[in-house]
Symmetry: C3
Subunit: 349 residues, 3 copies
Amino acid sequence: MQQDAHAYRLAEIVQRFGGELLGDPDVLITQVATLETAGPGHISFFSNPRYRKQLEHTRAEAVILTAEVADATQRARIVCKDPYAYFARLSALLNPPSAVVPGIHASAAIDASARVSPNASIGPGVSIGARCEIGDGTLIEAGCVLGAGVRVGSQCRLYANVSIYHDCIVGDRVLLHSGAVIGADGFGLAWENGRWNKIPQIGRVLIGNDVEIGANTTIDRGALDDTVIEDGVKLDNQIQIGHNCHIGAHTAIAGCTGIAGSTRIGRYCRIGGSAMIGGHLVIVDGVEISGGTTVPKSILKAGTYTSLFPISQHRDWLRNASHLRHLDDLIGRVRELERELTELQGHKK
Amino acid sequence: MQQDAHAYRLAEIVQRFGGELLGDPDVLITQVATLETAGPGHISFFSNPRYRKQLEHTRAEAVILTAEVADATQRARIVCKDPYAYFARLSALLNPPSAVVPGIHASAAIDASARVSPNASIGPGVSIGARCEIGDGTLIEAGCVLGAGVRVGSQCRLYANVSIYHDCIVGDRVLLHSGAVIGADGFGLAWENGRWNKIPQIGRVLIGNDVEIGANTTIDRGALDDTVIEDGVKLDNQIQIGHNCHIGAHTAIAGCTGIAGSTRIGRYCRIGGSAMIGGHLVIVDGVEISGGTTVPKSILKAGTYTSLFPISQHRDWLRNASHLRHLDDLIGRVRELERELTELQGHKK
Amino acid sequence: MQQDAHAYRLAEIVQRFGGELLGDPDVLITQVATLETAGPGHISFFSNPRYRKQLEHTRAEAVILTAEVADATQRARIVCKDPYAYFARLSALLNPPSAVVPGIHASAAIDASARVSPNASIGPGVSIGARCEIGDGTLIEAGCVLGAGVRVGSQCRLYANVSIYHDCIVGDRVLLHSGAVIGADGFGLAWENGRWNKIPQIGRVLIGNDVEIGANTTIDRGALDDTVIEDGVKLDNQIQIGHNCHIGAHTAIAGCTGIAGSTRIGRYCRIGGSAMIGGHLVIVDGVEISGGTTVPKSILKAGTYTSLFPISQHRDWLRNASHLRHLDDLIGRVRELERELTELQGHKK
């Protein structure tokens, strides 16, 4: 699918990334592929034991694997400690981002007071507000809209139809996928006299370096202080981050997760998809949260946390669910049994 | 609300779609409506028993219903086996999609190498990249952005502000609603030396024929191989489909559901809203999943599956939830009771 | 962050909004801030007891608080019954929305039959369809698309990249955040002969006055009748509202909540984030639903409702979850214990 794949000899690859090469050093690698679909010029990797069969039958030109399984194929192979990480770096080499062609499309609307690097690329229909600053090598695709005072660093990529509200700040090498909305108003309301009064949201969103933000993910601006996404954070699609949240460096969050306002999540956390995290909580560094888990209170100790109702066939679920409603009654019956048994035991003595 | 409703005599309708007509064949039908709001020229349908009262009092010109209830109204009526399906076809006849006026709006940015059918309609501000192909009778509304190499078949409709990344392929008669994002990067990361390395996502999204994709739904491109949506799949709004998922033909998924990467869902499945389906799973043909259910493992047998914690008033929930935390203790108490009772019974003998 | 903060003396503020002033009436207030970050010219508020320490150490020029804690600081202070509501009104005074500069950007595509108030502001790349009407003082930011026949009232604000489908109606003083999609087709399908037939969605979306709709929230048009959002409703980000829902006045719904079709929610409800509400339900006025709760049936009595599986460390969850699967067995064991104990007691007598 990539238009301009590069080609490297296995010897060059090992020289660049390390690992032990078993097989012909002159094999030419043009692309990465799965064990199952790989063919001529392709290199694959093996890290999940359940694909063992596919390793044995792969037609990949070469395979990246660990020493433990180095004998499972006679294909050329690179032996290393972490095949998946090795593969990631090699794939990045073989599939560099497409070159950014500098220039501003004629249909873009750039405010006269904005400063756009001459090395940036601004697509059709982009709107850039007053006082914005766009860094070197940054690509802003068609339909993106940046409010007044937005700063985007260098080597960023904003895919089509991203919206950034006024005064938000984006670091370097940040990827924002289509439909992402950065800096919309947080959900700040005060109830008075039978109606909601809106609280102006005067904070910003500050996004660090090397952050990736998925399609249709939304990050609200702060109510008073700023919402902060630290360096290296990775957010999947359709995530909602409330106002004044603070997401620590190198934390990764899978799709559809919602985080209510003013919650502080530590560094190096891994949060599964469709999780729901309440507001005003603290989650410390290194916490893992299973997909689908609801977090109604702070987590002050690293570890893995879960809150799933186990899935079952619907008829079994109906029975279990009805039992759940009567747990209190069941406990009363056990207590009564204990009382009567003690009484009986007393009689016996 | 429709500007140009058509009109058909009941006799024409029955001739076209079948069913038995009771009442005046010359009654003119111009629109469908609910039993409650129907008036002159309207036809309604009855399929849900709890609207029986409304059937009795409806002012619809005619009603579609089954033989069992054919006597419940004296209005003109069409008797058939499946009133809802009948109604669907009749409504489609009365409410055809608005005609597509061919042409390219002056503000659209179409790459010189793209091939747009002369019968297609391209709206204001649309951006179409290099080598794209757009089929006959396809309508692309304002603000849509298609990356390089995208192919969209014939008779499709892309509503406003849809984004399709490079090289994705869309079949014929596909509806993509506003804000949908097709082909954004999957969440592919490798952890190494205290940071995440991005894995280039070099697969595509392949969408079959007769697919409908809801507003703000996101479908990620494959990491290595493609993400596949087969013919006739219907996706509601705000669904997230991870990289390398495969959704079988004629499966329908309700809103807000998230499906993690590399999961394969069979054909003819029905998945409720706000479900969460884990990654690398297999779900076979004909599975139904209740709304709100989390699926952490494969489902290899057709049937209906559920995982909901039953709702209750908050104070009751507090008590139940606290019992849940002590289930282990409760089981220990029951085991102890069993032991002591056995001992007592031994004494007695 | 705000460019043109206003300034008021404390005396002026109390004259305008009430409350008792303790301290120098001539202190000049230019902005609101949190207790922790406030500095010269800032006023803060105290309503959450856990920030007591911050109250004692604040450097705010003045603090809004209740009589009970009026002695906890010697800073200038405004004593009132509801500091948060007071703060909301004061913040709105200090941070008025930026002025709307009337005019239509040259790159906007406005159908000749549309009527746009001369006091409205239409941004770059906006597309406005046939017969639309846009009221006084309404701001429509870049990239918004309005289908034919859409009516938007006065003093509204549509942020960048909002999509409104044909014939929908929006009241006065409505805020629509970026990526919101109003009036996409509902998920209306009829199963027949092994495939889904689409049911034309011919209703509209009707949005009342003073409504706020968050980023990437979607509200589907009605299938036959209209979907209705009453006055004063506040919707956070990434909410999905199905066709023919009816949301009562002044109800507030937090982010990521999904509401299936034809459900009627009362007035003054408060619904937490990531809730999931089934279709064809009735929820009466004044119901509160906890975040993360699934609502599979109607709620006919005001109160607070919850359905969360309690979170725990993963290893504890594994044990609890496995017990849940055997609740039926446990209940059988308790019943057997009761039977045997009764028998023993009979022997004893």
